[in-house]
Each structure stands twice: as C-alpha cells, then as structure tokens.
C-alpha cells in the first residue's frame, strides 16, 4: 500500500470524522500514558534508565554485522536454524518452505509486527495454509479482517461493544456478551483446541542475545509461550536490528519496554528461547528456526543520523503520546507501523516516494522524543526526512520525490525576503500600513481560526520610537 498524499488526506478526514474511534483512541491513550507515568515516578531515575537503554542499543548497532554473525553462530551451536531474508517475499518463502518440508498445513501465531511487515498471513493463506492468530487483539483483527492499528495493542481502536458484535457475527453459537472477561474466555476456549493441533507455531522476537544465542519474547497472555512450545516446530521472525550484545543487558531493556509500553513493571510472561527440545525434556518444539529480515534496514544502517531509527524496541510509547496519532488512529497512516516511529521508519524502509506524505503528519511537538525509552530523536529525524523528501541528494530511497517547483520557489523567495533587511523592512511596512487589506481568508487556516492581522506598527518600528539601541 502506498501512502499517497490524496489517500492519506482521505483517511485522515475519515478518521477525524469517526467520533467513536476517536473516543476509543483518546481513552486508551490516556490510560496508557497515565500507567507509564505511574511507573516512572522519579524523573532522574527514568532519565538514567533511558540513557542506559539508548547506550545498549546504540552500542549493539555500532557492531551490528559482527553481532549478527555471533548470534548466528551461537544459535546454530544451540540447535536453532538460522535463515536470512533480504525482502518480505524471501522471508515468506522461507517460512513456507519450512512448513512444506514438514507437510504442515496449519500455523498458530503469537503476535509479531515483522510478520505484518511480511504480509505473512495473506501469503500463507494463498498457499493453502491455515493461519490462526492467538494474541487476543490479533485474533479479533483476524476475525474482522483488519490490520493492527497499534504495534502493542493491535485492536485498540475497537471498544468492547464492537468486539461483542463481531463475536456474535462470527460465533453465533456462543452466548452474546459485552463483558470483557467473558469475551476473553470465549476466545481462549476457541484457541485452546487449536494450540493442540497446530503443526507450526510462529512468533516474533523482542531481543536476540548474541552472547548466548537466546531469543527473548515479551507477552502477557501466555499465547506466546503456547505458540513457541506446544507445536512441534517453532519459527521466530525478526528484524536484524533486534540483536543485543550481552545477556546482562536484557533486564534494563525489559524494564524500559514494559514500563513504556503498557505501564507494567514486568509482563506476565517473559520467554527465553535458547534451543529446541533436548533429549529427556518433556516439552518444547523439536525444531526452532529464526528468520532474520532485512527489508531496508541495512540501508538505514548506512547513515549515522538515521541509524537511530533502528534503536526502536517497539514499545509504542511514541504513538501513545502523539497528539496526531491520538486523533487519527493507526489505520489512517496506511502503514504497518503507525505513529511517530512509523513516520520515520516506513519512508526509510519503503521509500519517500511512497511514504513521504507521512512526514507532514507531525507538529514536531516533541512528545515522542520525550518518552522514547531509547531516546530516538524522532522529531529531528522527521525534520531530516522532510529535507530528503524535497531534495534529491538524500540517502533515503525516493529522495527528492516530493520536490515541487512551486513550493521550492516560494521558499527561495521567502529566504530572499528574510535575509535582506531592506526587502524585509519594505515587506513589514507594507503589511502594517495595509493591514486592513490583509486577506480574511488564508486557505485552510481560516477553516478553524480567523486570519491573523498584522499590527499597526512593527516591533522594529516600536523599538526605534522607544529609543532602543540599534547596535
């Protein structure tokens, strides 16, 4: 899907016009922000933890190629098979090949944004594989035929009444309920059977530890543990940026992740997967595979400033705190990753020609950068991508594709006016003298506000008459 200017505009208008979805987002984001705040009561401790998190991820990225090699060697030594995919299509094919080698036709999935990036469900279904999402939010979305609207809470745009209605439609035999616990129990009962029969389980990865060859998976519902231990084959998919150097670096990252994401001191489940079932062990898959996906990440890696994008630990705090995301919701972005991280990640991954319009969807208020647990300077990177969108000398794919001659000329004229004191003085004189002629309509600005009127006398003028020194 492309995020064209026109398509984006339409989705924004639709989202803003949908009071119910707007209310759902506002309430949910308010709750998440408050919960996060409650768990970071001491600003100094929070800042020092964020700094620590940033350093861990930055340090890992600075050694990314060698860490990936180390990770691969350790995983292989542990009995986990490693696959490299440059594109989503390659990754999908790898997953399909593994399934076909076992003659498997059913998969149960834990939550994975990388699998969304791959479009895995659609691909496998086309090849006759039965795929079932087991994360409650993802399960709901699979029923509804919708993509996630948030990277941590994928069905956050739906309230319980909408979910109750969906269940009534899809499961007419189950008694209707609007009670959250009852709805959850219904989903749980449906999923239980499928865990036992699915031939392959798939999951994402939150952190991959190079030192020990350990795949860490953070979750709350236990479906991640079920997906990775019950079926005979477990396939993990992840982006190449998820690797960290040492096992001892996991606790601070986990603390940052759970607090920033859902305001939890720790999640209900934290899985560390380090090998397939060993002889004598009673459970666990017989085979474990890791698919490492690039999908544009190595391109981002080549720029020292944009590289910070890859520090992301996918907590979603940037979207929870974004006033734009809160109002338009995740679907309006039209991308796998919405919100501030999506604004910087998607154009770098998929090209500014396709996703450059996203960079306009920020007031640069800085709320995202303020809460990012690994201190990604998101506003600065949005600024950088805006530059690259208009200039062909950028490093991002599709650089210069948003160049508009008329807009460029306007800024050239602006620059001339504001750097030549004489021209600037003439402009302000004209504006103040002719203030009553100032247009009452100033494009879209005046749809929600009156147009500002120039003052009768400029500050330059007032400073002169009040005898303020010129130099």
């Amino acid at each position: 899907m492309q995020t064209t200017d026109a398509g984006f505009d339409i989705r924004i208008r639709d989202a803003l016009g949908n009071e119910r979805v707007r209310g759902n987002f506002r309430r949910a984001m308010d709750g998440l922000m408050q919960r996060r705040l409650d768990l970071f009561p001491d600003p100094e401790a929070m800042e020092s933890l964020r700094q620590h998190g940033m350093c861990i991820k930055a340090s890992a990225l600075s050694r990314l190629p060698e860490l990936l090699e180390e990770l691969e060697a350790k995983l292989i030594a542990n009995g986990i098979r490693v696959h490299w995919a440059e594109t989503p299509l390659e990754a999908n094919q790898i997953v399909l090949d593994i399934m076909q080698s076992h003659g498997a036709t059913s998969m149960i999935k834990g939550k994975s944004m990388v699998s969304e990036e791959m479009g895995l469900n659609h691909f496998l279904e086309q090849h006759g594989i039965d795929v079932l999402e087991s994360d409650l939010g993802e399960f709901i979305l699979q029923l509804a035929g919708e993509p996630p609207s948030h990277i941590v809470a994928p069905a956050i745009h739906k309230d319980r009444y909408q979910i109750a209605e969906l269940f009534r439609e899809k499961f007419p035999d189950i008694p209707y309920s609007e009670d959250i616990d009852e709805l959850t129990q219904s989903a749980r009962a449906i999923l239980r059977d499928r865990f036992e029969t699915a031939e392959v389980g798939l999951s994402g990865v939150n952190f991959a530890v190079a030192e020990t060859g350990t795949l860490c998976l953070v979750e709350n519902e236990g479906n991640g543990r079920m997906s990775t231990t019950v079926p005979p084959v477990h396939i993990a998919v992840t982006g190449i940026e998820k690797v960290v150097e040492k096992f001892e670096q996991i606790p601070p990252l986990l603390t940052l992740l759970t607090r920033s994401a859902t305001g939890q001191p720790v999640t209900t489940y934290f899985n560390m997967i380090s090998s397939p079932r060993k002889p004598g062990e009673k459970d666990g898959p017989e085979e474990v595979h890791l698919v490492l996906l690039d999908n544009g990440r190595s391109g981002i890696y080549s720029d020292p400033e944009l590289l910070a994008t890859l520090r992301c630990i996918r907590c979603g705090a940037c979207m929870n705190h974004c006033p734009v995301y809160t109002r338009i919701g995740g679907h309006a972005y039209g991308t796998v990753y919405p919100g501030p991280i999506g604004i910087i990640f998607e154009p770098q991954k998929g090209g500014l020609d396709k996703y450059g319009a996203l960079t306009t969807a920020s007031s640069l208020c800085g709320a995202c950068g303020e809460v990012c647990p690994v201190r990604i300077p998101i506003p600065n990177l949005i600024n950088r991508l805006r530059y690259e969108a208009h200039h062909s000398n950028g490093v991002t794919p599709g650089s210069g594709s948003k160049h508009k001659r008329s807009e460029a000329l306007l800024w050239k004229a602006w620059s001339l006016l504001y750097r030549k004191p004489l021209l600037y003085r003439m402009m302000t004189k004209a504006a103040t003298r002719l203030r009553m002629l100032a247009p009452g309509k100033a494009g879209p600005w005046t749809r929600y506000r009156v147009a500002p009127k120039p003052a009768a006398r400029s500050l330059h003028d007032l400073a002169r008459t009040h005898g303020v020194d010129n130099e």
Partner: protein, 249 residues
C-alpha cells in the same frame, strides 16, 4: 546557562512578534530595561529561519539564519521572546551550519541564546507588584518551552509572582495546541482538531486570560477562539507582566 546578571543584552524579536505581536516584544524589552539591563535591538534582524528548517528547506533556512548570526556578534546574551525560535537558534543552528564556514559563529551564538521567561526568572529573578484586577489565568506552555528548551515552568513562576491572578489548570495542559508552523497548513484538519480540543479544555478551565510564552501558539489558539466567537483574552507573558506591573503609560 550563565545566570550572572549582564549589563547589556541583545533582543531577538522574532518575525511573528515583529509583525503580529509587537507589543509583546516591546513589553519584553521594557521588562529587561526596568531591571537595569541595556537592550540592543539590531534593526537588521528578521527571522531565525525556523519555518524553512522545519519544512525541509535547509539551504533557505541557513541563508536567513546566517544574516542573523552576522548581527549578534557581541559576547552578550541574546534574549528571545519565544521558546520555539530560541530552540531553533540554540538547538538547531549547530546542525544547520555543520561543516560550513559559519559553524564556529553559529555554535558561539547558540550558546548565548536565552529564552525570555528563563531570563526573567533565572537571571533577573524579577519581583513585581501586581497592580491588576483579580482574574483567572490559564497557562499554555509551548512544546518548545516544555520539551526542547526545558523552560516550561518559568512562565508558571512568573504568573505566580502576579499575586492577584488565580492560576487555573486546563485538561491536557502539556499537549500541543496544533500549531506546528507549516503543519497547520500542510495538515489543516488534524491541526484544526487539535486546536478545537485545546480551546475546549481552556474554556472549561474558566480562565479569563490565556497566557503563553510563544506567539505561534497564541496566534493559533486566539485565532480559534475568535473564530468560535468567544474565549478568554490571549496574550504573551511579557505583555501580561508589563501591563499589570507598570503604573504610567
């Protein structure tokens, strides 16, 4: 920041204040002068370059910024009555001029930038007698003041020193008003939704006055109130301070 009281400061008025809120700029200069500090207002000044910088037009921003750098050469503080312009000059000039002949001067200037409310509180520590009527005031700190410059609490201190004012708190106080410079033009519907929420929460607070340290936010919020037909009086903190604390004029 150097908190020793200087003899003399520059005043960088900003383009928005120059054309739309000159009284706020003049009030800022008078407040500083009243504390016995000389103010220099270089008449060649125009804009910090932020509109172009935030829109992705770095060459154009650099040309305009270079013209300002040439004007503020004395080793004295440059006081700016806007956290967003101060943020541009303090935080982004070094990046804007990286690997250019002006890099050293840009960095030197960036270190002398002081946002007005921070200057009034941290350097001048102004004490005032409030001559105004009792009124309720809501404060909107700009995103740049809160996050980029980390001086969002200075306006709170200043309002507290105006004894006859009662501070009221609006919901979602720290949230952006939706201005965002060219954001309000490029994404008018989102910006409009944001300012609609902002004005609603301010109205609910029962404030008679809305005060901010940034004229971009004021233009947005006041413009929306005016369009809606009613709302509190919106003004810059310098203007509020000046009009409530000077007897003549």
């Amino acid at each position: 920041m150097n908190t020793a009281k200087p003899k003399q400061v520059y005043f960088f008025g900003t383009c928005l204040v120059d054309l739309f809120y000159p009284e706020a700029g003049l009030a800022g200069m008078r407040l500083i002068q009243r504390e016995g500090v000389d103010v220099i207002f270089p008449q060649g000044q125009s804009c910090c370059g932020q509109p172009a910088w935030n829109s992705g037009y770095r060459d154009e921003a650099r040309d305009v910024a270079a013209a300002q750098i040439a004007l503020f050469t004395k080793e004295i503080p440059v006081v700016v009555p806007s956290a967003s312009c101060a943020g541009m000059m303090q935080e982004h000039y070094p990046a804007l001029f990286r690997d250019t002949p002006l890099e050293t001067s840009a960095i030197a200037l960036s270190k002398r930038i002081v946002e007005l409310t921070a200057f009034l509180v941290d350097v001048l520590d102004i004490r005032v007698e409030d001559l105004g009527n009792p009124q309720k005031v809501a404060i909107h700190s700009s995103c740049s003041a809160l996050r980029e410059m980390q001086v969002g609490d200075r306006i709170e201190t200043l309002v507290t020193r105006l004894e006859k004012l009662e501070k009221v708190e609006q919901a979602y106080k720290r949230e952006c008003c939706g201005f965002g410079g060219t954001f309000s033009v490029k994404q008018p519907e989102i910006s409009g939704a944001m300012v609609a929420d902002k004005t609603a929460s301010i109205r609910e607070s029962g404030a008679d006055i809305l005060v901010s340290q940034d004229c971009g936010c004021l233009m947005n919020i006041a413009g929306a109130f005016e369009k809606q037909g009613e709302g509190p009086r919106c003004l810059h903190i310098a203007e509020l301070l000046w009009e409530r604390t000077h007897a003549d004029d």
